[in-house]
């Protein structure tokens, strides 16, 4: 990660190095363009496939909360209703829950590993976290639905019993009919994204120059003051990036939310109620879809795409602002 390229290796003769240089330049350019091209093609084909839905259901998809894909009274006046709001809501809610749980834990682990842990412990913990990262999401999903969800029901019921009476909190911690709900999905998603946020922020913390830390020590800072004053400001941008990668994985996670979220199409403040997320709906419903219905699933893909892009843009704004602030401080 922190290795520097070694220029001496490529220096056998001038001409050869020029060819190597050109080739390298071309390969990098192709790779760079490929990313953009693939992204563009995906978005393009998603939009073109989703056109029938835009024609038939129109913007109602983005304002309606009801999901009635079959036509209950056949040729009646109602017709199918393809409201996607509840799905988008579900995606946002589980992602937020996942971040709330994952971010403090991941940053804690990363700081522990870089600043506190003895070398031997460090290696072991890193191995285990990397192992966690390689567990397929369907395993997390099955574990969630078979083990975690039933086990958490009494916990949810206890939380509802103790916090249910408080005005605002009570609405969040409502009745828990089963363990398949926003909260369980959020918790397991958090477990899934902890490794990714941890390992990236660990690398970021590692890049903090020793001189910055020594300066803090020299000023008589405690360990926490050193972390607060030297490590965190220096690595803010990188940590935000790590969190965004984690969030991206959480939002796009498919099988897990399809299994654990309970698949109830609704918008409710109750975190212990079932919900449905965009990727889960796509994977559940695609097999038996046809015509307009398939196109609506494509629209779900577009919505997910747009949400991801917006969040990444937001992250860039946050990072840029923080950098400006930091530069102001150092100048």
């Amino acid at each position: 990660m922190t290795q520097q390229p070694n220029p001496a290796l490529a220096m056998s003769s001038k001409a050869r190095s020029r060819i190597a240089d050109r080739t390298f330049w071309a390969i990098c350019l192709i790779a760079g363009i490929a990313v953009l091209a693939i992204l563009g093609l995906i978005l393009g084909s998603l939009i073109s496939q989703s056109m029938p839905a835009f024609r038939e259901a129109g913007l109602d998809m983005f304002t309606n909360t009801r999901w009635v894909p079959n036509d209950p009274d056949a040729d009646g006046p109602a017709g199918p209703i393809y409201g996607l709001l509840a799905f988008a809501y579900g995606t946002v809610v589980v992602s937020i829950i996942a971040l709330i749980f994952a971010v403090p834990v991941s940053l804690g682990i990363a700081l522990f590993l870089t600043e506190l842990a003895p070398r031997r412990v460090r290696g072991t913990v890193v191995t285990f976290i990397d192992l966690l990262a390689s567990v397929p999401s369907v395993v997390f999903g099955l574990w969630g639905v078979l083990v975690v969800a039933p086990a958490l029901v009494p916990v949810y019921q206890w939380l509802h019993g103790t916090l249910g009476g408080i005005p605002v909190l009570g609405r969040l911690f409502g009745e828990a009919a089963s363990g398949r709900n926003f909260m369980t999905a959020g918790i397991i998603l958090a477990l899934m994204i902890v490794p990714i946020i941890t390992s990236i922020s660990r690398e970021v913390f590692d890049t903090v120059p020793d001189s910055d830390k020594q300066a803090a020590w020299a000023l008589g800072a405690t360990r926490w003051e050193m972390i607060k004053g030297s490590v965190l400001p220096h690595s803010f941008g990188g940590v935000v990036g790590a969190i965004m990668l984690g969030l991206g994985r959480a939002m796009g996670e498919t099988i897990l939310v399809a299994l654990v979220m309970g698949s109830a199409v609704q918008i409710t403040p109750n975190l212990f109620a079932g919900g449905y997320a965009l990727p889960g709906a796509i994977v559940n419903l695609f097999g038996e879809s046809s015509g307009t219905f398939t196109a609506v699933l494509m629209v779900m893909g577009v919505v997910l795409f747009v949400m991801t892009v917006l969040i990444n843009l937001l992250a860039r704004v946050i990072v840029r602002r923080a950098e400006v602030r930091m530069k102001g401080a150092t100048a």
């Binding site: 009635v68 079959n70 009274d73 698949s263 097999g287 038996e288």
Partner: protein, 359 residues
């Protein structure tokens, strides 16, 4: 002689089209060539080549059983069936990616299959059980209207008067009802809800389809096993599950009141009785839901194979015919092993006659 035909066919299979023609012509000159199904009872032993199918997941267990059986019987025949869902199967069939498709639903205009280009061939049928988990109750009877009320959450406890009326003499607990349904788009949901629209016309309000607007306080499970798993986990749960999964997972199922007013348990015999009572259309599409007959189990899902009326390659047509013929004759005996109901004789004969028209 048989050997010779076999080897020639093997060569033809890998050669170019022109060579195929010559080889077949040479074959036809000396011997009674015709088709591979002339010799054996169903002709499947001599068949060689490759067949691809995809579609409905509902009859998948039966089709896989047939495919596995054929691996031993017809060594040169390679059949694959991908259970990707009826709609996807129909799409692939329309695009010519597969030689046949499995479908639980009839072909719609939006599927892109030309009206006169295919035949429906019924293969097997299976009952959809209404499985439940209620401590202390081992025998449950439900009428269509009660099932409808339960699944659209008009009834929320087990001791509701409507359930009690269907079960005279049974003490029902006040346990809350948990409704489990399929989250994935499914022919099982389509058939179950279609049954309710037919048999509980005045009560059922959610319509029919691969997915419907389930109330938010119901539980969703992925596939039959997901629903079965909720039923197993939760005391007071009820859900619709196909017989094969319900039997394997040892669920308890309710007897459903049929058109003749009898409460019938989901069994293969009840299903075949239901098929006998069903009205079969000229194109062999039929609807066994809520069929008449004293022993008929009313929630029965039909399933079809879609085959082309005319295949571009006559060899392919022969293969398809041999394969489906096996499925409709000897293969029917395998159905029971995987909890599917064989077709009644009348329907089977019609299907075989329809198959004969494939060219």
């Amino acid at each position: 002689m048989n050997q010779k035909v076999l080897s020639r066919r093997g060569v033809a299979g890998v050669a170019l089209a022109a060579i195929t023609a010559i080889a077949l012509a040479a074959c036809g000159s000396g011997q009674p060539s015709t088709t591979p199904q002339g010799s054996a009872a169903t002709g499947i032993e001599g068949a060689s080549g490759e067949l691809k199918g995809s579609g409905a997941s509902f009859p998948n267990a039966f089709y896989q059983e047939i495919v596995a059986e054929l691996q031993g019987k017809a060594k040169n025949l390679k059949v694959t069936y991908n259970s990707v869902g009826s709609s996807t199967g129909k799409k692939e069939f329309a695009q010519g990616l597969v030689d046949f498709a499995g479908s639980d639903s009839l072909v719609k205009d939006s599927d892109g299959i030309a009206k006169d280009s295919f035949y429906y061939l019924p293969t097997v049928a299976a009952p959809i059980t209404v499985s439940y988990n209620l401590q202390g109750v081992d025998k449950l009877q439900l009428s269509a209207a009660t099932v409808a009320k339960i699944f659209q959450r008009d009834i929320k406890t087990w001791n509701d008067p409507a359930i009690a009326a269907d079960n005279p003499g049974v003490t029902l607990p006040a346990t809350a009802i948990t409704v489990a349904h399929r989250t994935d788009g499914s022919g099982t949901t389509a058939n179950f809800t279609k049954y309710l629209t037919v048999a509980a016309k005045d009560t059922w309000k959610l319509g029919t389809g691969d997915t419907v607007e389930w109330s938010a306080d119901t539980q969703g499970g992925a596939k039959n096993t997901g629903v079965a798993q909720i039923v197993t986990q939760v005391n007071g749960a009820i859900g619709y599950v196909d017989l094969s999964d319900a039997t394997t997972l040892k669920l308890k199922f309710a007897a459903i009141k049929n058109k003749d007013g009898k409460f019938v348990l989901p069994t293969l015999e009840g299903t075949t009785a239901g098929l006998n009572g069903a009205k079969v259309n000229d194109d062999l599409s039929y609807d066994p839901l809520d069929a008449s007959g004293a022993d008929a189990y009313p929630i029965t899902a039909p399933t079809f194979l879609l085959v082309k009326r005319k295949y571009d390659d006559p060899k392919k047509a022969e293969l398809v015919k041999a394969f489906v013929k096996y499925m409709l004759t000897d293969g029917q005996a395998l159905a029971k092993e995987v909890h599917f109901a064989p077709l009644p004789d009348s329907l089977k004969q019609k299907a075989l006659a329809q198959l004969d028209k494939v060219s």
